[in-house]
C-alpha cells in the first residue's frame, strides 16, 4: 500500500475543468428547441392582483406564451408542498407557483413569459400591466408579532406561524435564586445568500416515456424530485433531477422554488424544453434569505462566572411564506447552550410572517444566531462580573472528561442531545496562544498612545454536523480497473468529488485523480438527501468508506480463489491484488471485475453476487459535534465609525481531517461570510412602502478582498466515535462563531467609551450613533 490519501493535502479533482472554463453550470446547458422564461413579479409588498393585461406582451414577436396561474392547469391551483411539515406549524402559508390573487412580497411571481430567448421574454414581461389593489403591509417584525398587527396574509388571525420552545432544567428557579442575573436585548440580521451563480432551472418533458427531467442549480436534487412528484401528483420514477456544476449554494438552494414547478409545468404543456436563469435582482427579491431576530435574554450566574441558567425569548422574522417549515427557527434554539455545560435552558421563539422575501437557512442556519446570543452572553457575564472573557468560557465549557456529554436537551424525535468528542478548553488555549491573547493589553495601551482604538474579540462554538439519516454511496470496480464512486449527493464547491475519491482510493491503493466520481443526479441509485448543515463529508464520506471496504473484501475473496491463496495472505497494491511480498503473483482489479460481469453461459463463482461493486449507507442516529474558538483583532476609527479587521485566528476541531487544504478553505470562507454578516450585509426594507431598498451590489455590500484580514488556522483532531472515519463537518464552522467574534472585537475596541454592542451588522453610521451617545454623555 502507498501513502494514505485520507488526511493528505490532495489537489482537487474538480479543478482542471473549473480553471479552464469547462465547468458545466445550468446556464451552460442548451437543449434543442429550448425556450426561455422571464417572470412578471409583484412590485407591491402586499396587494390583491385585480387583473392583468397580457395582450401587448403576447404580441411581441418571438413570444410563445404569457401565462398566469389559471393557464397552468387544475393541478397548479394549490399552494406548494410544505418541505418540512410539523405539528407546531399553526399557519402554513406556502406560495403558489404563480400568485393566485394575493401577493405577499415584492418579487412574488405573478405571470410567466415564454419566448425564443431571454431578451424577448424580458421585453414582453415589461409590457404586462398588473392592476393591484394595495393592502396594508407588515414589515417590522416586532410590530408584526403583536396581537393587533396588520396581517401579512389577508384574513389571517395573526402573523404567528408557530411558537416553538427548547427547554431543559429549571431555568425559572435558577434565575430566581441566582446571585447575579444579567438581562440584555439583542438584534440580529443575517442578510441574503448571494452565491455568485444564482438559481436556475431547465425542464424537459419526453411525452413518449412521460419522463420529466430537470437540471437545477440545487443542493438537493432528491428533495426537488420528491416535492415535484408530490405537487405534480406523479411517481418519483417519472422524474429525474440533475444538479450539474453549481456555483455556490449556502443553504437557500436546498429548498424547492416556484420557478422549478413553473418550468416543469410549462415544459409539459408546451412540449418543449424551457430554461430560467435567475438574475441578480431576482436573487435579491426571491431567493430565500435569513432576516431579523430580536432576543430578550436573562442569564443567571455565580460570582465566578459559572452560568446557571439561560432564559430567552426570540421574535423571528420569517418573511412572507414558510417554504422550509420551522427548520431555521429550530436551528436557532436547539443549539443552546453550545459548548457550555449549563444546567438549565429555556428558549421560546415566535416565528412571525412579514411581507418580506421568505427565509430559509443560510450558512449555519440559525446556529450563528444562537452562537451570537451565547457568546455575547459570555462577554456580558465577563463585563458584569469584571472577569476575563476567556476565563468565563473556561469556567463553563463541557470538560474533556465529560464526553460523551448529554446537555439535557432532547429532540422532538426523543433522541437526547449528546456531544460525541472534543476538548473545548484545549482548542481555546490553542487560539489564545496563536493570537497572543495575553499580550494584547500592552498592545492596546501602545495603540492608544497614538490615538488608535483597537480591540480583541473571542468566540467559541460547537456545531451539530453530519445530521442523520444518511447519504448513500455506490463504489464499483469497472472492467477497466478504474474505481468509480456514485453519489446522489452533490457539491456546490466544497470539493466533494475530491474527498470521496480520496476515501475510495485508499482501499485500492490508486491515485484519487483516477477515480471516476458521479454526483448530484437522481438517476444514481444510492439515495441522497441534501448537501446542507455541514453533513455530507460526515455522512456520504463514511458511506463511501463502507462501500469501498465491502468491494475491497469482495475483491480479496475472489482473488483468493483465483490465486489459490488465503485472503489474509493477500494485499492490494496499485490496483492489483497480490500475495504479500510476491508482487508477480497477482490479479488486477479489472480482471476480477470482468469475472463478475454478465458473461454468456459463464456462471458466477460459487458464493459471489454480480458485479465488483457495493452500495452502502452510513446511518447515524445522531449528529457529530465539531467545535472551535476564534480570536479577532479590530480597529475602530471613532471619527468615521469604520472598522478595520487586523487579524483573525481560528483553532477548530472537525474530527479526522480528510483533506486539510479543503477544510481550511471551508473555514476561511465561512469566517468571511461571518465578516459580511457582522459588518457589511444588510437587506433593508422601507418601512412605509414595504419595498426592499438594497437590491444591487452597490447598496448591499458583500465582503471584498481588501477588507479581509489574514486568517490563520490551527486544526485539532478529536475523531468522532460515531463514524468509521472519525470525521465531522466543517462547512459552517467559520460562520457560526465569526459574527460574534467580530462584534466582540469591535466592542472591546470601544471599551474605554463603554459602548455595548448587542446587534449586527455594525455599519459605520450605526457605530457612530453609539459612539456619539457615549461621548455626549461624558
Amino acid at each position: 500500500m502507498g501513502a494514505r490519501n485520507v488526511g493528505a493535502v490532495v489537489k482537487r479533482v474538480e479543478d482542471p475543468r473549473f480553471v479552464t472554463g469547462h465547468g458545466r453550470y445550468t446556464d451552460d446547458i442548451v437543449l434543442p428547441g429550448m425556450l426561455e422564461m422571464a417572470f412578471v413579479r409583484s412590485s407591491e409588498a402586499h396587494a390583491v392582483v385585480k387583473s392583468l393585461d397580457t395582450s401587448a406582451a403576447r404580441a411581441v414577436p418571438g413570444v410563445v406564451a404569457v401565462w398566469t396561474i389559471a393557464d397552468l392547469g387544475a393541478i397548479a391551483q394549490k399552494p406548494m408542498v410544505q418541505s418540512y411539515p410539523s405539528p407546531a406549524i399553526k399557519q402554513n402559508f406556502t406560495q403558489h407557483p404563480l400568485a393566485k390573487d394575493e401577493v405577499c412580497y415584492v418579487g412574488e411571481a405573478i405571470a410567466v413569459v415564454i419566448a425564443q430567448n431571454r431578451y424577448i421574454a424580458e421585453d414582453a414581461a415589461h409590457l404586462v400591466t398588473v392592476d393591484y389593489e394595495s393592502l396594508p403591509h407588515a414589515i417590522d417584525v416586532r410590530e408584526a408579532a403583536r396581537a393587533d398587527a396588520i396581517p401579512a396574509h389577508r384574513g389571517a388571525q395573526s402573523n404567528i406561524a408557530a411558537t416553538v420552545a427548547w427547554k431543559f432544567g429549571d431555568a425559572a428557579g435558577a434565575i430566581a435564586r441566582a446571585p447575579h442575573v444579567i438581562r440584555e436585548t439583542y438584534r440580529q440580521h443575517r442578510g441574503a445568500p448571494h452565491s455568485i451563480e444564482g438559481r436556475g432551472v431547465i425542464a424537459q418533458h419526453e411525452p413518449a416515456a412521460d419522463q420529466l427531467t430537470l437540471w437545477s442549480s440545487t443542493q438537493s436534487p432528491f428533495l426537488v424530485r420528491r416535492y415535484l412528484a408530490q405537487y405534480l401528483e406523479r411517481e418519483e420514477a417519472g422524474i429525474r433531477v440533475i444538479a450539474p456544476d453549481v456555483g455556490g449554494g449556502f443553504g437557500p438552494k436546498a429548498g424547492h422554488y416556484p420557478e422549478e414547478l413553473v418550468a416543469a409545468l410549462v415544459a409539459m404543456k408546451l412540449g418543449r424544453p424551457v430554461k430560467w436563469i435567475e438574475d441578480r435582482r431576482e436573487h435579491f427579491l426571491t431567493t430565500t434569505q435569513q432576516r431579523d431576530q430580536w432576543w430578550d435574554v436573562e442569564v443567571a450566574c455565580e460570582p465566578n462566572g459559572k452560568v446557571l441558567a439561560l432564559r430567552a425569548k426570540c421574535i423571528h422574522d420569517n418573511g412572507a411564506y414558510l417554504p422550509y417549515g420551522l427548520l431555521l427557527c429550530m436551528t436557532s434554539i436547539v443549539p443552546f447552550p453550545g459548548p457550555y455545560a449549563i444546567p438549565a435552558v429555556e428558549v421560546t421563539l415566535d416565528c412571525v410572517f412579514t411581507n418580506a422575501v421568505p427565509t430559509s437557512p443560510i450558512r449555519g442556519a440559525g446556529r450563528p444566531c444562537a452562537a451570537f446570543i451565547m457568546e455575547r452572553t459570555m462577554d456580558s457575564v465577563a463585563r458584569t462580573l469584571g472577569l476575563d472573557r476567556a476565563d468565563v468560557r473556561r469556567a463553563n465549557f463541557v470538560r474533556r472528561d465529560q464526553f460523551p456529554y448529554e446537555t439535557g436537551g432532547r429532540l422532538p424525535t426523543g433522541v437526547t442531545i449528546q456531544y460525541d468528542s472534543g476538548d473545548y478548553a484545549a482548542c481555546l488555549d490553542m487560539v489564545m496562544k496563536s493570537s497572543a491573547y495575553t499580550a494584547f493589553e500592552a498592545k492596546r495601551a501602545q495603540a492608544a498612545k497614538s490615538g488608535r482604538w483597537i480591540g480583541m474579540g473571542i468566540a467559541s462554538y460547537n456545531e451539530d454536523t453530519g445530521l442523520p439519516p444518511y447519504e448513500g454511496a455506490t463504489v464499483k470496480v469497472l472492467p477497466s480497473g478504474r474505481i468509480s464512486v456514485e453519489l446522489g449527493s452533490c457539491s456546490q464547491g466544497q470539493g466533494l468529488e475530491t474527498i470521496v475519491a480520496q476515501i475510495a482510493a485508499d482501499q485500492f491503493d490508486v491515485d484519487p485523480e483516477k477515480v471516476i466520481v458521479k454526483t448530484g443526479d437522481t438517476a444514481i441509485s444510492a439515495i441522497a438527501l441534501s448537501t446542507v448543515g455541514s453533513r455530507v463529508a460526515a455522512t456520504a464520506g463514511p458511506s463511501v468508506h463502507l462501500a469501498a471496504t465491502q468491494v475491497r473484501d469482495k475483491a480479496l475473496r475472489l482473488a483468493a480463489l483465483q490465486l489459490e491463496a488465503a485472503e489474509q495472505d493477500l494485499e492490494i497494491t496499485r490496483g492489483a491484488v497480490h500475495i504479500k511480498g510476491v508482487a508477480e503473483r497477482k490479479v488486477t482489479l479489472g480482471e476480477l471485475a470482468k469475472r463478475l460481469v454478465s458473461n454468456v453461459n459463464v456462471p458466477l463463482p460459487n458464493g459471489f453476487t454480480p458485479g465488483l461493486e457495493a452500495t452502502a449507507y452510513h446511518t447515524p442516529e445522531r449528529p457529530v459535534y465539531a467545535n472551535g474558538s476564534n480570536v479577532a483583532q479590530a480597529e475602530v476609527d471613532i471619527e468615521t465609525g469604520a472598522v478595520t479587521l487586523l487579524d483573525y485566528r481560528v483553532a477548530h476541531d472537525c474530527g479526522t481531517l480528510i483533506n486539510p487544504m479543503l477544510v481550511e478553505g471551508q473555514i476561511v470562507g465561512g469566517v468571511v461570510h461571518g465578516i459580511g454578516n457582522a459588518l457589511y450585509e444588510h437587506m433593508k426594507y422601507d418601512p412605509d412602502s414595504g419595498q426592499p431598498v438594497t437590491t444591487n451590489f452597490g447598496d448591499y455590500l458583500l465582503p471584498i478582498a481588501t477588507e479581509i484580514p489574514p486568517i490563520r488556522l490551527e486544526h485539532m483532531e478529536s475523531p468522532s466515535p460515531l463514524n468509521p472515519l472519525g470525521v465531522k463537518g466543517a462547512g459552517e464552522g467559520g460562520t457560526i462563531p465569526g459574527i460574534a467574534c467580530i462584534v466582540s472585537a469591535v466592542e472591546d475596541a470601544l471599551k474605554p467609551l463603554g459602548v455595548k454592542l448587542n446587534e449586527y451588522p455594525l455599519s459605520p453610521e450605526r457605530l457612530l450613533e453609539l459612539i456619539d451617545e457615549k461621548r455626549s454623555a461624558k
Partner: protein, 160 residues
C-alpha cells in the same frame, strides 16, 4: 427592437464575423453565440466581475459591454488562457495549487483580472493583489487562496 450590425472580433485567436443585435451584451455573445460558456454572468450590473475578459489586452466586464462595442477587437476569454497542448497558464495552475477556487463560478473572472493585472505589475505586494481583485466577488473562498495563488503565479511568471 432588432437593430442589427455585423461585427468582426478575434476571440482566443480565432476570427469571427457575426450579425448581432445591437443590444446583445458581449457576455451573452461569447456564451450564446460562440458557445464559450467559461465566461460567467454573475450580477449583470458590473460589480461581481465573474464575466471579466480581456478586451485588447485589458480586463473588461463583458456583462456591461455590448458585443458591437467589441467590433474589431481582440478578445481573450478563460478558454484562451491555457496552451493549446493543455498546459495550464501559471495563474490557472496556482489557483489549483493554492485552493483558490471552490464552486468555480467566479474563477474565470478572477483569473482574467489577475492575468491582466500581473501583465502590468509583475511583482505585486499582497496589498496590491487584494486591491487588484477588489472588483471581483467570491462568496466561497474568503479570497485567501486566491491572493496566495496570484502571488505564487507572479513569482512563477517572473521566473519563466
Amino acid at each position: 427592437m432588432s437593430d442589427r450590425r455585423t461585427i468582426e472580433v478575434t476571440v482566443n485567436g480565432v476570427r469571427h464575423t457575426r450579425e448581432v443585435e445591437t443590444r446583445l451584451t458581449l457576455g451573452d455573445f461569447l456564451r450564446h453565440e460562440l458557445g464559450l460558456t467559461g465566461t460567467h454572468i454573475g450580477c449583470e450590473h458590473g460589480v461581481c466581475g465573474a464575466c471579466t475578459i480581456h478586451l485588447d489586452g485589458a480586463a473588461a466586464r463583458s456583462c456591461i459591454l455590448f458585443a458591437v462595442q467589441a467590433h474589431g477587437c481582440e478578445i481573450t476569454t478563460v478558454e484562451g488562457l491555457a496552451k493549446s497542448d493543455g498546459t495550464l497558464h501559471a495563474v490557472q495552475q496556482a489557483f489549483r495549487d493554492h485552493h483558490g477556487l471552490q464552486c468555480g463560478f467566479c474563477t474565470p473572472g478572477m483569473q482574467m483580472t489577475i492575468t491582466a493585472f500581473l501583465a502590468e505589475n509583475s511583482s505585486p505586494s499582497e496589498k496590491e493583489v487584494r486591491e487588484a481583485i477588489s472588483g471581483n466577488l467570491c462568496r466561497c473562498t474568503g479570497y485567501q487562496g486566491i491572493v496566495a495563488a496570484a502571488l505564487d503565479a507572479a513569482q512563477k511568471l517572473r521566473g519563466a
